[in-house]
Amino acid sequence: MNEYRRYIVVLLCFLSGCVNIPDSYAPPIQRRPLTGTEPSDVGHFANFGEKKADAYIVRDVSDAIQSGAWRWTGKKPELRFFLESVDHLTFTMDFSIAEITLKDTGPVAISVMINGNLLDTLHYDKNGEQHFKKAVPANFLRPKAINHVTLEVDKPWVSKTDNQVLGFILTRAGFVQ
């Protein structure tokens, strides 16, 4: 039996000689970051359920995060995004029209302006979740710079008790390819 064991050991040694697993590797050549160093916490896309999305708000979006997922806008919210490159970009936004506001205001229109250029005007006569996505002409945008997006509601809801102005519910917005 011992003799056989010796053969088995020799055979295993022979077979393991086929395997060439290196012990370790050195770090490879480092790839360049995709979008370079951004000047602030502002990137190309924001999730408004997160606190860090504060940096993307210029005006008219609530500081308060509702249900950990969204925020109220006012009549003319303005957002900012840093874009390294401006080619082949699409502006996308997830938002909702609230039943409570629509009931009072009736159908609403939201104008989407990018750096002062009208990208689209959206019309809604029903409440619910909405998804907007539209390619942005490169000449609307500025590379390696902050770009501003304004979302103007034609008929915001105004509280009869404290005159608070509510536009729509903003969940996510930004630029994607």
Binding site: L15, C18, V19, N20, I21, P22, D23, S24, Y25, A26, P27, P28, I29, Q30, R31, R32, P33, L34, T35, G43, H44, F45, A46, N47, L83, E84, S85, D87, H88, L89, G174, F175, V176, Q177
Partner: protein, 737 residues
């Protein structure tokens, strides 16, 4: 030379040289054989020798048409000089007239049908892709090349080397005709066996049952290797039975070992020929009170001569002697275990919903399992009645042995090695009644005629077409026009050759007729390299794949020699890490050249987690188990207080913990579960992916309209940074700009 003649010459020359070599071999070992059986046994034994010789020529870089011609002519001259061209041995007793007439008439009709089909332009999927793809590559390189991007190139290729010998003269159809030679040899060997052992009528029935079987006719007339494998396996059986019936015929042990080894060289699944041959030799020797060891050693040594070259080639070039299989025991960077597992899992089930479908699929339908034996084989269980005769028990034992690999690949073709034994056992039973045997064979022949098959089989069945391609076989209609019309992948190959410069490599998920273009085609599932490129290209297309999931481990700042992340869960998910970053406060530790990076498993890809690219990732490429880890060993101990893993979301079950090696060399727990956050998908992923693919020396991509993401590549080609060069029947060729 007209193309048709060069085809016939290529195949004929290969067959004649094989026959000559086989006769020289059998006669040099003084094997006593009947005249008729000597030819079939000589052809298969000689084919083994020629395959081995071609292996040698490929190894020394001498795989050239001129060398093949010189070697073949020299061997023929030696054969003539040694008198091997003269038939020797006694003849079998003549077949009874009825059976002689039956065999000759049906054999002749199907011989002509098969010959024409084999000579027609080669269009079989696997034939034009890899069986002849590697053959044409070896011929261009005048020998073997180290191919790490195609797992099929690491299978044993004993038959493909015979194809290479023929291909050098007559290209694709010469290879198919060489395979056809085995298709013709198999029934002749079966008949000879039956005549030698005294049941010629059963032999006629069985030989015809196999020969006219639709899957045999289809497989044996294209550049596959299943019929050749079946012929080799039967030859092993036949040689073993001759020796077992007359142990003084000891010269047969050499061809027995050689041909058994040739089984492995032809197809891994035929490795069972070796233990079968050894089992017969050992059993007979022990029962006869004869010495066993010497006989076993003779058979083993000659089998090893055929097997060892393939194992050594794979061990040296791919780190796995039986590549791509058993890669879990022979870890190597050339095949991903998960891809291999998916592939082998598919072969166990194909697209069947239940194994109960197998009998009808392999006999009547012929679509899902690629081929049909013919409805007559639904009667195969009658072969069990042959158990009452010794020959029947011998045959059924062989059938059982060679059916063992079938569950691993339930394609109909994988029944072929056992089919002769099943057919002979059926023949033994039905030949008890001449009328029944006659009816069975005639019915099978009618049901196996191409235009009749279509009346009962699935319309998508893998079978010969109704129309007999005489004009195409004789090249009255050009090969180019016929193949281009019939086979989309041929046009893809032409598209590639037109646009891709010599030396250029093309990535694709599906495949193209590789043997019809000299350009290298990298197919996603065929290698680790290919599947990694496929993974890269899908990164921007699958929402869960981009590295938007950040996992951060916090721990008290301390000086450490090593840091490792350990995965502790067991599940079907795969673990992946796009970037592994180490911080001291807010500053990331710069990755120093003297860092040592390790991963377990898949150590070869560990750098992908440390390359600062958001599109590459280290992946386990196998289901997660608790022994997986990623580690960094610093050149000198470093102070750090957090580790950030940038990960994709497609790994729901992973559980991670962080460990560090302190300055004393002791591993300590640093942190348990990490803090998880999400970031938006970065911009520029598509362009970054293309840059990574180009960095891997792939500058072209063939995308079928049915491929995942095809619309994105087409509609957003400017975002990817790719340009469509051409389109052929739903396949688009892109240049990576």
């Amino acid at each position: 030379m007209p193309q048709a003649l060069s085809i016939v010459f290529g195949a004929g020359f290969t067959v004649v040289v094989s026959l000559a070599l086989g006769r020289l071999l059998l006669r040099s070992f003084k094997a006593r054989l009947y005249r008729q059986e000597e030819n079939v046994l000589a052809f298969v034994s000689g084919a083994a020798c020629l395959s081995l010789l071609t292996f040698f020529l490929c190894t020394v870089g001498a795989a050239r048409k001129g060398v093949f011609l010189a070697v073949g002519v020299t061997l023929l001259a030696i054969a003539v000089w040694r008198g091997a061209h003269r038939a020797t041995g006694e003849s079998f007793a003549p077949l009874p007239p009825l059976w002689r007439w039956l065999f000759r008439s049906i054999f002749a009709i199907f011989f002509v049908l098969y010959f024409i089909n084999a000579m027609a332009p080669e269009m079989s999927a696997d034939g034009v892709a890899y069986h002849l793809g590697v053959v044409s590559r070896y011929l261009r390189a005048h020998g073997f090349e180290r191919i790490t991007t195609n797992m099929y190139a690491s299978l044993s290729e004993g038959i493909e080397l015979l194809f290479l010998f023929a291909f050098a003269f007559g290209r694709h159809s010469a290879a198919a005709l060489t395979h056809f030679a085995f298709l013709v040899t198999l029934p002749l060997a079966m008949l000879s066996y039956a005549r030698r052992f005294g049941f010629p009528a059963a032999g006629v029935c069985a030989a015809l049952l196999v020969f006219v079987s639709p899957v045999a006719g289809m497989d044996g007339t294209v550049a596959y290797n299943d019929i050749a494998t079946a012929c080799i396996v039967f030859t092993v059986f036949y040689l073993a039975q001759i020796w077992a019936s007359d142990e003084s015929n000891s010269g047969l042990l050499v061809p027995l070992g050689l041909v058994a080894g040739f089984g492995y060289a032809a197809k891994y699944t035929a490795f069972l020929a070796v233990p079968y041959a050894l089992g017969i030799v050992a059993w007979k020797s022990i029962r006869g009170g004869q010495p066993v060891v010497k006989r076993i050693l003779v058979v083993t040594a000659w089998a090893a001569i055929m097997i060892a070259p393939w194992m050594i080639k794979n061990a040296v070039w791919l780190g796995n002697p039986v590549s791509p299989f058993l890669s879990e025991f022979f870890p190597n960077p050339y095949i991903h275990l998960s891809v291999l597992k998916d592939y082998t899992e598919y072969l166990r089930h194909y697209d069947l919903t239940s194994n109960r479908e197998i009998p009808l699929e392999v006999t009547v339908r012929g679509a899902l399992l690629c081929g049909l034996l013919g409805p007559i084989f639904l009667l195969a269980p009658i072969g069990l009645l042959a158990l009452r005769w010794p020959a029947g028990r011998t045959l059924l034992l062989a059938a059982m042995v060679f059916l063992i690999p079938f569950p691993a690949n339930i394609g109909t073709r994988f029944l072929l090695p056992a089919l002769p034994f099943v057919a002979l056992s059926m023949g033994l039973v039905v030949a008890q009644s001449s009328a029944a045997a006659l009816a069975l064979v005639l019915a099978h022949a009618v049901l196996s005629w191409p235009s009749v098959i279509g009346m009962y089989s699935d319309p998508r069945a893998w079978r010969l077409e109704n129309k007999i391609p005489i004009r195409q076989a004789l090249r009255i209609e050009s090969e180019e026009s016929y193949v281009n019309f019939k086979m989309a992948s041929y046009g893809m190959a032409r598209l590639i050759e037109h646009y891709v410069p010599p030396g250029g490599r093309v990535f694709t998920w599906g495949g193209a007729a590789e043997s019809y273009t000299p350009r290298e085609i990298v197919i996603a599932y065929q290698s680790a390299f290919g599947s990694s490129i496929g993974d890269l290209l899908w990164t921007p297309l699958v929402r869960e794949v981009p590295a938007t999931w950040l996992l951060r481990f916090h721990y008290p700042a301390q000086r450490l020699r090593q840091i490792r992340v350990v995965q502790t869960a067991t599940a079907a998910d795969q673990w992946s890490v796009s970037e592994f970053r180490i911080y001291n406060g807010t500053a990331e530790l710069a990755r120093a050249a003297n860092w040592k990076l390790r991963a377990r498993p898949n150590p070869w890809d560990v750098q992908l987690a440390f390359d600062n690219s958001p599109v590459t990732r280290w992946r386990s490429w196998q289901a997660i188990t608790p022994d997986m880890s990623l580690s960094v060993e610093f050149g000198t101990p470093e102070i750090s207080d957090s580790v950030l893993l940038e990960c994709s979301h497609d790994q729901y079950k992973i559980q991670l913990k962080l460990e560090g090696m302190d300055e004393s060399g002791k591993w300590i727990a640093l942190a348990g579960a990490p803090e998880a956050t999400d970031i938006p998908e970065p911009l520029g992923l598509r362009r970054a992916v293309v840059e990574e693919v180009k960095a891997r020396d792939i500058h072209y991509m063939l995308v079928l309209d049915t491929d995942f993401g095809a619309a994105d590549f087409q509609n957003r080609s400017n975002v990817w940074g790719i340009t469509m060069l051409g389109d052929h029947r739903g396949a688009k060729l892109y240049h990576l700009d």
